[in-house]
Every structure is written in C-alpha cells, then in structure tokens.
Amino acid sequence: MMDAIAHWFKWLSNQHGINYSVFFDNYDQTLFLKGLKTTIILSLACIALSILVGLIGAWLQGSRIRAARVGTAMFVQFFRNTPPLVQLAFFYYAVSALLPTVTDSFGAQTPLINNLGWAIISFSLFAGAFNIEIFRSGIEAVPSAMTEAAESLGYTRFQIYRIVVIPIAFRICLPSLGNNLVNLVKTTTLAYAIGVPELLYASAQIWSEAMNVREMMVLLLITYVALVAILVAVMQRWEKSLRVPGYVS
C-alpha cells in the first residue's frame, strides 16, 4: 500500500514534474515527519502550559491583593498587545543572554534553555494571556444568584468554586478556549524564525533542496488545516460530552 502510493507519486514526478518528494524520497519524508512531530509536541506543550497560565492568572485576578490583580492585568495587556514574533525574539535573544550557560555532554557551553524551550515558553505566555481573559470572563458570567444559592446551602467559599462556579464557567469558556488554542497551533509556525525544526522549517529545508515550493506549500497548508480540524473536532467532542440538556451557556 505505502509502496503503491510512493510509486504513484514517483510516476507523477517523472511524468508531470509535480514533485511531492515527501511521499517517495526517504530523506525528505523523515525530515517532514520529524517536523510534524516537533509541531505536535510544541503545540501540545503550549496548550497545556497556556491553560495552566490561564488558570493561575484567572485565580490571581480574583485575589484580594491589589498588587496581584494589577500585575496580572499588566501581564495580560502587555502580551495581548505586542507582536508574538517580537516576544519570541525578546525571550530567545535578550532574556536568554542573561541566563547562565551549561556545559553539555561534549564539554561545550550551551544555553540553559534551547530554542524549542524558548518557543514553548514564549507561546505559552502569549496564549496564556488570552486564556486568563477567557477564564475570567467565564467566571464572571456565572450568575451571582448561583453562588448565593450555594452559599445559603452552607457551602464554603472553596466548595462553591469547586462544585458550582468552575463547572459552569468552564462550559461557558470552552468555545472561546477552543478558538484560542486553534490560534496557538497556528502561532507555532513562528518558531521557524528562531530555527526550531518544526513543520514549516522542515518544509523550507525540503523545498530549497528539491525545488518544489509549490507542492510543499500545498502540502503544508493541507497539513495545518488538518491539524486545526483535528483540534476543533476534539474540542467539539469535549464540549458535547459536557453539554447539559436544556442549558444554553
């Protein structure tokens, strides 16, 4: 089966000059798949971390300490209103220069955090800033009457959050959270700029060798649309499993 596909694409390349080298050239295929793997790892790590940032930030924004609230608000506004690419450069070139280096297994000096690490940190903070806003507005959208009812039943503050506010707020948030995560996956392509071997970077390597920009471009776009489609499907599935009959959030 795989052979047949490779064979067909080889024929397509020879006969019509449409060169999808990824399907028959071993070297290009490995490069592309590695790139895909890096993109997926990068995306998953950023999704997890950005949600964590969002939860912590939303919690800090509800804090009684004014400094915590103002600090969080500043973080959110700053990361939302500056270009993610410049943020990435800021971390990778500027912050990284301030950190000590470590000695690697070959005895050479390498930075404490590599480019993939900085990409993860940078994008997580960027998307996390949006998540904070999303979670906060979700919590605010829970009617105060609901918390009052829980209070009058004798729930503690913590119980009210855990049993009533968070489950309802989460259902309200889920669509916007999905949107933001889709954006996050698209944003991972910026890691190209600091040489992280993700999908775009790998593809650029391939097309500069095999001279098949057109084909790689089509493949790249299809791959990203597919990745986004998978994420959307997962989010919708999740939304559906949490849906409560008769309740529109």
């Binding site: 500043m74 500027a94 920009v213």
Partner: protein
C-alpha cells in the same frame, strides 16, 4: 435638561452630554495611564538589569540610553513601515473579505459553497505559511495586456498578509449579517423590497455596527503580524532592530532594544484594544 444658553456656548460644544459619554471614562484613562507608566517602568528596569550585567564586564563606551537614542529613529522608521503595510493589507483584505462574506450568503449554491470553503481554508491556515505562499507563488511581474508591471517583494507581502485578513473579514461580515434577526428580512420582504435592497438598505446598515469591534480587533492582530515580513526578508522594524544589535555587538543591548520595539507596538495596539472594548460594550448595551 438644562436650559441652553446658546449665545454663551461655542457652537461645537453640545450643551447636553447624554448619559452615555462618547469619551472613554475617566477611570479608564487613569487606568491606562497607570499601565503605561508601569510599563515604562519595566522598560527602565530592564535597562538597569542590562547595565548591571554589563558593569560586571568591561565598561562600555556609550551608556545604554545613548545607544538606544542613537538607533531609535531608524527603528521607528521601520515601525512606520509596519504600520503602512498594515493599512494597505487591511484595505485589500477588507474589500476582498466583504465580497467573500457576501458570497457566503449568496442564493447561488456554487458561489456560497466556494466562498465558504475559501474562508475556512484561509482562516485556518497559519499567517506565516500564507505569507510564504504569496512570496513564493506570486509571479515576479504581472502582464496586463502589453504592459508589464513588476511585483516587488513588499507588494507580495501585503497580499500575503491580506489573505488571512480577507478570510477573517468574510467571517465577520457573515456573522454580522447572521446576527440580524430573520424577522427583519421577512418584514422587509413583505414590503416588496428586492433581495439586494434588503441587504444593502436594511440588513447591512444594522450589521455594520456590530462588525466594527471585531474588525478593529482584526486590525490590531494584523498590525502585530506585520512583523512576520521580516522572516521573509523584507526590512521592517524587526529587521532594523536586529541589524542595530549586530552593528553594536553588545549583549547588554538586547533587552532594552527588544523592549523598545515591544513598547512601540504596545503604544499603537493597546489604545485600539481599549477603543474596541468600549465600542463593544456600547453595542452590547444597544441591542
């Protein structure tokens, strides 16, 4: 209502300001001031950190602030180029997006299906990939009849950025139109308006108000995305910042230089975000 003493008031000043003040509220202004001040604070602190680091090594010839001021005009020029690109892409993307959005609600199935597909495709592709797409796949020059117009790289970049803008505008237009209740269509139809008349005279004017906040939001996103053109080799503020840093060759400059660039964008995008927010809440109140 206070009595209007028209003679004593300048003509431009409306004597009775309504409850919903068109200007941002005082607290909002103070809050944003506070934010600006604290961000500037962070900026100088970052200068300080860098200075402390460099103090450990050899004493540099120029202070960080001097170097910063030396390069600031150049970087700012690059920043203005980013803004110019954002305006051009927004114009192009809005015009084509409007067509694509209207195409989605076209009664002709082939048109609506194609428009829908194009919208989804460009909306879900990464901006950087679309930019590469335009840079590599658009021809070097355009032949219109016998005239050959060269397509410079910056123009291709504008098109590349306009593609995702187009798809997002299309979605905004569709969403805006869909948000007008069906009863508006029906009542207009019952008054014998044609489809085109209903759309342009009844639906779009109402939908327009709701489309403005997301449209402005999109513009801010686009402005920040214009830095991507540095990745495909066009000189903008990002490229110039890098070039300046290479020319100076001092590690302690990285933090303040990138901070300066971040702040330029912040100073432009944050007010847009505030305005969007206040418009949004006003729209929410009205409907």
């Amino acid at each position: 209502m206070r009595p209007v003493q028209s003679s004593s008031l300048p003509v431009l000043l409306t004597p009775n300001r309504t409850a919903r003040d068109p200007l941002p509220s005082l607290t909002a202004i103070i809050q944003s001031r506070l934010l600006f001040v604290s961000l500037l604070g962070t900026f100088f602190i970052s200068c300080g950190i860098s200075a402390a680091y460099s103090a450990a090594g050899a004493q540099p010839s120029l202070s960080i602030l001097d170097v910063l001021l030396k390069w600031a005009p150049l970087v700012f020029g690059g920043f203005l180029f980013n803004i110019a690109v954002s305006i051009a892409s927004m114009a192009l993307g809005t015009a084509s997006g409007l067509l694509l959005g209207l195409g989605q609600i076209s009664p002709s199935r082939p048109i609506s299906k194609t428009s829908w597909f194009l919208t989804q495709f460009f909306r879900n592709s990464p901006w950087l990939v679309l930019l590469f797409f335009a840079m590599f796949l658009l021809p070097f020059d355009l032949k219109i009849g016998s005239v050959t117009v060269p397509l410079p790289a910056w123009f291709k970049a504008i098109i590349g950025l306009a593609l995702p803008v187009m798809a997002n505008v299309a979605e905004i237009v569709r969403g805006g139109i869909k948000s007008i209740p069906l009863s508006q269509w029906e009542s207009a139809e019952s008054l014998a308006f044609s489809r085109r008349q209903i759309l342009w005279q009844i639906i779009l004017p109402q939908a327009f108000k709701r489309m403005i906040p997301p449209w402005m939001n999109l513009y801010a996103i686009l402005t920040m995305a214009t830095t991507l053109i540095s990745v495909v080799g066009i000189q903008d503020s990002m490229t110039l910042t890098k070039a300046a840093l290479v020319a100076e060759g001092r590690l302690d400059l990285y933090l303040p230089f990138y901070m300066m660039l971040l702040l330029m964008f912040f100073a432009y995008c944050y007010p847009i975000a505030r305005l969007t927010q206040s418009l949004e809440s006003r729209v929410a109140v009205k409907f």
